[in-house]
Amino acid sequence: MFKPKSLFLLMASLLALSGCGDTTEGETVRLQVWGPAKEGEKEVYEYLAGKFQEAHPEITFKMGFGDVGEGDAATMALGDIDTAADVFMFADDQLANLVQKGVLNALPTTYANIVKGRDLERCVNDASFTKQDEEEKVYAFPLSSDNGYMLVYNKAFFTATDVQTLEGMMAKANKDHQVVIDMGNGYYSLSGLLDYGELSYDPYARVHETDFDSTANANALQGLIDIIQPKKDKGFKSVNVDDIMTDFSDANGNKVVAAVTGNWNVDNIMEELGDDFAATKLPTYTSADSSTVQMGSFSGSKLVGVKSSSLVSAWALAFAEFVTNEAAQQYRFEAIKKGPSNIVVDGSAAVLAEPGLAALDAQYPFSIPQGKSVGESFWTPAASVGNFIVNGPAGVDGPQTIQEQLAAFVAAVTAAPEV
């Protein structure tokens, strides 16, 4: 435990020095990469790794791929930084955490300019962070822009006008043809207010700033309750969309005719619905004081990060830049249809023709960036509000009206955390 560590440091310093010195021909560079292996991502990685090796024939790259999903990469990197990969893919809501714990360092200015020049502004925002007493810097390379959700529905059942308002949808939905929104999940539960109200997160004090307990917002949610609660289980169902996927199909009687979900489910639902598949932005609803409220959502990106203590940081940065450049994003979109973050690719006709991605684009003006708006303390209180919307008061001890529930929510998310 002591000897290997001292040897390790010795080797590390030698390698660091060698990185600064001349790279001789025939040198081997070891690079460890983490990314999800499902949904064809691994094949995309292997193709791009091959292309990277071709681009640098004088060096032999030994690249190891670890199947670590985007949600887990940050946790694993924080758990043991020494064994973390040099290049890893993660979701942007972890960016604040990774930067504050020193896992990610700011990109060198040249690379930052490359990112700012070629990627969508919202993705660059998702990849940026402002450390205390510093200016905003870019900390990772944007990979895809389609973290977010929209409305997916059965064209044969709803017309385009129906899905513009929640009331229209509820009018047509009934016990045998239901609309699904997972109100028990903090990700979806407050979509009624994400556009209408204010919500932001301070990663230093680790508290939120929000006005969700204002009268206007309480009225808005009351309006939502008045639409949803009478139809509970008789037109509206609050479950995880992954559990009811097969209920979309004709074979199952179209038990589900609309759902709020993200791009990751679009392929599966398309399989179930076939030609009846349609996607659009989230609907509006009427609040209790008769104003029209647009349902909002979270938006986010997938990012590629380079470990701050990487022993081959120059090559790691080069590789990360390579797998997120325009050609790579084009290939990625063609292979697995994920929303690209590159401006050119995103504007191409093929991308615009994808219904899921087009719907996300339409929803984007009404969404807030997840990484900048919510922290860890958001999810459980948000889920409680969602449960209140669908089921009413949880018990006699808890909040009895939506105003009280929102007050409790705001108290929870603005509470200073225990030190």
């Binding site: 660091a16 930084i81 020494d82 060198p108 200015t109 120059a314 090559w315 459980t380 509470a415």
Partner: protein, 745 residues
């Protein structure tokens, strides 16, 4: 029947009616006692119900919930009714007591005794009847109120409270018992003693014995509760006394050892003194160099380890504040092949080099300390070895030097060379493989236990005295010692949203859960075993096998299946809905109370086979003649159960029950796989669920979520250990297994 019983029992389960009625019928004292008990019942009802309703009233006044008129009036009705009825019960008790005592003087006179007894018994019967009516009406009112108020649209303002319903139900039964006894008094005296002196002896019926049992049970419960509390207080005090004694013992032992250590050096020969500095050198000076070489290699190895960079002293030096600098930045060039000194600023990469890692410092420092302790033990063993060996060697040498040991060669007048009497290396190895083989084989487990159990254990315990959490932890921040602050955080309340509220809730539920889980499994397993064991049941083995089959399915598979079954949109709800038995989905696992009940019931499913098997075996061992004689004496089935079966069972399974109780305090699987900790409690700042027990909360705090509160988790773990150890030790000493070992031997 001429002697007065000085301490008449309140109720005598198992006794024949004749004796019972006669003994209680003649003693005036017993009238007083039964009146007193009636008084107590009335008092309890008055205080508890009155106080409880007043508390609800205050709650209603001080919370701003809007309550509609019908609810309010129902509420008021309930309060008034309770107060009136409680007052009546109280008055009745007082009246009965007074009337009994006023008749006291007359009872002693034989000629009016019967009249007086009948009169008193009539009073008591009336009071008993009134009591029955009172408590039944109260119970009915409570249930009705709950039904009415929960159906009102403004939401229920009164929580269905099971405890009060149980209390009321028990009061009802006790009152019925009292009534029966009073009637019995009248009957006994009226029909004359001759009736009962005749041959006909009726055993007490099942119902009567249950009621009588409940009455005496209530009395025993009170006495038992008091003893229980005293037990814990005594055990708590004993703990500190024992701790103090332990510390004194340890201090004395350390002082003694230090003295021995120095005395051995001072009194030792030059060999011993040298061995203090060069481990085992004495052996080489006595002709056994191999042993010395081995010891010296060990010593060299240890000092090498301590002094090397990143070795023992490095970690120990950082141990006092757990690191100074977590990381530093070095710069590299992102242009491949360009050295940093000519690299333009916009191409420079900030590379972090991580230096001090508090967690690793703690771990390696602990390992170093334990290694040092182990080395010191070896060191002391080597010195002792030299001292002992020296004794034999010096003696043999003396013998050799003296001229008449019979080995001198008469021809050359030379002595043979002195052979050291100490065992050679080969001999020692032989010994270790034969006569002292136990040492060889035990060394491996000793090492592995130290490395894999002791080091992590000490490490985790030390974490409780730091502030290790997400903000103060690797990789780029350090944590440090904070003493007892983490424990203070668990127990005190800071700013309303805190760990202490969560801790209090969870602790309460943990005990309730452990009690009900153990109790329900035990009783139901026992009942099941008794039912199968009854004479007249055919195919006993088949029934047992059927109930035991559930063991074949692994516990967590059962639990996962159950959680799927009880899911709100799962198969059970769907089936009930389609059959038309319910009109809306039932929230089994998402409403706190339902989740708690569901968890206990599913645990019964999982655990009853085990208790059934255990109790089956024990039941079959109880000798039948005990039951026979009880039946002859007139004991009912329930009395037999309470007086014969239960004491025997408790004697044999007492320690088992304690183990199960402690095990259920830490029963992670059932809670976690069924509800995952349960519906969230929605407490701002601290995340926990309503069915969380201490261990599942610990999991949630550390690795289950994103909280990473490792220091608090460690403090919680230590606390759980303290509770478990405390309960085990104090309860075990009190079980009949420990105190009545002679009775059932």
């Amino acid at each position: 029947m001429n002697e007065k019983k000085t301490t008449p029992p309140l109720m005598f389960p198992g006794q024949d009616k004749k004796d019972f009625y006669l003994s209680t019928g003649t003693g005036h004292y017993s009238h007083l006692m039964s009146s007193f008990s009636n008084f107590v019942i009335g008092l309890v009802i008055a205080i508890s119900m009155g106080g409880f309703f007043i508390a609800r009233l205050l709650h209603l006044i001080f919370t701003s919930t809007s309550v509609d008129a019908s609810s309010q009036s129902a509420y008021w009705l309930l309060i008034i009714a309770t107060l009136v009825l409680s007052a009546a019960a109280l008055a009745g008790g007082v009246l009965a007591a007074v009337s009994s005592s006023s008749q006291r003087a007359k009872v002693n006179r034989e000629e009016v005794r019967d009249e007086v007894l009948i009169k008193c018994s009539r009073y008591q019967a009336i009071v008993g009847l009134v009591n029955v009516i009172l408590t039944s009406v109260l119970l009915a009112l409570e249930i009705a109120a709950i039904i009415i108020l929960s159906a009102s649209t403004s939401g229920a303002v009164i929580t269905p409270s099971f405890w009060w319903i149980i209390l009321l139900a028990v009061s009802v039964l006790a009152s019925i018992g009292y009534l029966i006894i009073s009637l019995g008094h009248i009957k006994a005296v009226k029909n004359g003693r001759e009736y009962y002196l005749a041959k006909k002896v009726e055993p007490i019926s099942m119902v009567e014995s249950i009621v009588i049992g409940i009455g005496s049970g209530a009395k025993n419960l009170g006495v038992g509760l008091f003893n229980f509390i005293m037990l814990f207080i005594k055990a708590f005090i004993n703990l500190f006394v024992a701790l103090y004694k332990l510390i004194v013992k340890v201090a004395i032992a350390v002082a003694k050892f230090a003295k021995k250590f120095t005395m051995t050096f001072i009194k030792g020969t030059y060999r011993t003194k040298l061995s203090y500095f060069f481990m085992g050198l004495g052996h080489a000076l006595m002709g056994r160099p191999v042993k010395t070489i081995l010891y010296l290699i060990l010593e060299a190895g240890y000092w090498l380890f301590m002094f090397l960079p990143q070795g023992g002293f490095y970690w120990l030096s950082k141990f006092d504040n757990l690191g100074d600098q977590a990381s530093k930045i070095v710069y590299e060039c992102s242009i491949i092949g360009m050295p940093i000194n000519i690299c333009p600023v916009e191409d420079q990469i900030e590379v972090t080099v991580f230096m001090d890692n508090s967690m690793l410092i703690t771990l390696f420092a602990v390992a170093t300390i334990l290694l040092t302790v182990a080395f010191f033990a070896l060191y002391w063993i080597s010195i002792r070895g030299v001292v002992k060996a020296e004794e034999t060697y010096v003696e043999a040498l003396k013998k050799h030097e003296s001229t008449d040991d019979g080995t001198t060669n008469s021809a050359t007048q030379e002595k043979p060379k002195f052979k050291s009497p100490l065992p050679t290396f080969k001999n020692e190895v032989n010994e270790l493989l034969n006569s002292r083989f136990h040492l060889t084989t035990l060394s491996i487990p000793a090492i592995t236990i130290t490395v894999f159990t002791l080091v992590p254990l000490v490490f985790m315990i030390l974490l409780a005295f730091t502030n290790f959490n997400q903000q103060n932890g690797p990789p780029n921040t350090l944590f440090t010692w904070v003493g007892l602050q983490t424990f203070a955080q668990l127990f005190t309340s800071v700013g309303g949203s805190s760990f202490s509220k969560a801790f209090g809730d969870i602790l309460g539920w943990t005990f309730i859960w452990a009690f009900f889980a153990t109790f329900s499994n035990y009783i139901l397993g026992l009942i099941l075993a008794m039912m199968i064991n009854r004479k007249g049941i055919k195919l006993k083995k088949m029934w047992r096998t059927i109930f035991v089959i559930t063991i074949a399915v692994p516990q967590f598979v059962t639990l996962l299946l159950m959680s799927q079954l009880l899911y709100k949109y799962g198969p059970l709800n769907e089936t009930l809905l389609r059959l038309g038995w319910i009109s809306e989905y039932i929230d089994f696992l998402t409403v706190p109370l339902n989740a708690k009940i569901a968890v206990i019931l599913v645990n019964v499913w999982v655990g009853v086979p085990y208790t059934m098997l255990i109790t089956s075996g024990i039941l079959m061992n109880i000798p039948d003649d005990l039951y026979e004689s009880a039946r002859i004496d007139g004991a009912g089935r329930f009395t037999q159960f309470v007086k014969i079966t239960m004491p025997y069972m408790l004697f044999v399974t007492g320690p088992y029950l304690i183990t199960q109780f402690i095990g259920n305090i830490n029963n992670f699987n059932v809670i976690f796989f069924l509800t995952g900790g349960g519906p969230s409690a929605n407490l701002p700042g601290v995340e926990y669920g309503k069915t969380d027990i201490l261990v599942t909360w610990l999991y949630r705090l550390t690795v289950g979520g994103a909280q990473q509160e490792y220091a608090i988790g460690s403090a919680l773990g230590i606390f759980i250990f303290l509770i478990s150890a405390f309960i085990t030790l104090s309860l075990y000493a009190k079980t009949s297994a420990a105190t009545q070992e002679g009775d059932f031997a």
